[in-house]
Amino acid sequence: MLGQLIVSGLAVGACYSLLALAMVIIYKTSDVLNFAQGEMAMISTYVAFTLMESHHVPFQWAVILTFLFAILLGASFEFVFLRQAKEPTVLGLIIITLGFEMILMGFAGWKWGPDQRSLDFPVSNIETYNLFGLVMSKINFWTIVISLVLMFILFLFFRYTKVGVAMRATQQNQLAARVMGIRTKWILSFTWAISSMVGAVAGMLIAALGVLDPTMMMDPLLKSFASAVLGGMTSLPGTAVGGAMLGIIENLFGGYVSLAFKSVVAFAVIVLMLCIKPSGLLAKHYVKKV
């Protein structure tokens, strides 16, 4: 029982982590909290669903096309809405993302209706694997694997590629980045594109674990926000660990204490974290020299 609760909690937690990473990537670059993150992922998931369901596109092609769609969605949202804001304040930009969230939500409701659907994932959520005496559903296993692989790719990207390092540089000092010849505006669009794509993966996994409907991301978005707070809003590893922890904690709480209050755990975690260590689980600090 304990093992199963941990594994299924970890699978959900991995999705929180991905969605939270998507938020943090944007927050670090522009101080903007993207409240449309969940809905962008939801729309992308519907695109995958429509491609497979109505156009009979094979799964792997549907995924690739969905990635392209997500990239385009993220970059064009930044370009069309955020960049046009005159003398933007951070608060103003956040309100724009809220507006975008409502537009997307309304669009999904109009286009696909409120029915719950299931995303045709090539991995069964009934069949199980038996690993080291631990029984886990195949979908849980693959969710964890896919999330880990994607996080590892992100790590390599930010660590070793020129564009990845330039993105971190832009986050840390925009003036200096421009002086180095980095096109910071382009980097910003790129950030939104990557974030939206990571969000789309989270969306598809969440739909595969549960159901697909226009409100499916509301709860996960709150949880991933809590995960991001656990990571101090800035640390990528902290955010990843935070999401996994949150998934496990709430699942254990649901399993042993009270299923009804399962979702409240995320709020408790946010409050606790902000009281005890607002800088986040793994936040490192450097002292700025004058």
Partner: protein, 255 residues
């Protein structure tokens, strides 16, 4: 090499640069001197294309090409590099990554390697701190990193904004020594300084800036003879009474 003609730069409605012209010849170390708020940093930022829609008036030419109104990215590509005031390193990138960001616009692997080695030979301490976060370096080390990072763009013209700011006298000497060496290796330098004594020592031409205007421009030996420069920038007073205070209030000639 660099020709600035009559530029005016505005911050909103405030005019910070009021018609500045200056010229830097290839191979020179040119200096811009001036008190706090004179507009030195603003001139460099205007040249670098960092201020949107500025200069409001006037032209800037580099190697015979108009560069006013161009983006910083393009200007870096043409061969101007800028060491910002206050170093502005990327605090949570390693020293190594900071230097590599300097070569962001370049594709020539071999040239980048050469320049990397050259920077390390100027500043050996950077190689010892290679994997350390730049934010954890001392002020002096950060200044060296900022200069090294600017050199990684392989500039034809290197603009340095108060490299001596907040450094100990020994370190200031070292930085100025290396500046001279970089110049001797073929990089033209435009130096902004409050430390007029040092700047006049290594430069071959200097401009004195006050309230957004150039009020004097000459070779250092002539500027050093200038009573006003002596008094206001070097702190040397020529007329003192026996009791040790000035007998009359000196007026700047140009006001």
């Amino acid at each position: 090499m660099l020709k600035v003609k009559n530029i005016e730069t505005l911050y909103g409605l405030i005019m910070a640069i009021r018609g500045v012209s200056l010229e830097v010849q290839e191979g020179q170390i040119a200096a811009i001197l001036g008190a706090n708020g004179a507009g030195k940093t603003t001139i460099l930022k205007t040249i670098m294309g960092l201020l949107e829609d500025q200069p409001d008036k006037g032209t800037i030419e580099f190697l015979g090409k108009r560069i006013d109104g161009k983006d910083a990215e393009e200007i870096v590509h043409l061969g101007i590099s800028y060491v910002p005031e206050g170093r502005e390193v990327f605090p949570e990138l390693s020293v190594d990554e900071n230097l590599r960001m300097g070569a962001y616009t370049r594709r020539d692997k071999k040239g980048i390697k050469e320049d990397y080695d050259r920077v390390i030979s100027h500043f050996p301490v950077l190689s010892e701190r290679k994997n350390q976060w730049a934010g954890t370096l001392s002020g002096g080390e950060q200044q060296m990193l900022a200069i090294g990072r600017a050199l990684m763009t392989r500039p034809k013209l290197l603009m340095m904004d108060e490299p001596s700011l907040g450094l100990s006298p020994i370190l200031v000497k070292e930085i100025f020594g290396i500046t001279k060496m970089i110049n001797a290796e073929g990089t033209t330098i435009l130096l902004v300084e409050q430390n007029a004594k040092m700047a006049l020592k290594i430069s071959s031409y200097a401009f004195v800036l006050e309230n957004g205007r150039i009020v004097a421009a000459n070779t250092p030996d002539i500027l050093l003879q200038d009573e006003d420069v002596k008094e206001f920038y070097l702190g040397i007073r020529s007329e003192e009474s026996v009791k040790g205070y000035q007998r009359w209030k000196k007026k700047k000639r140009w006001r």
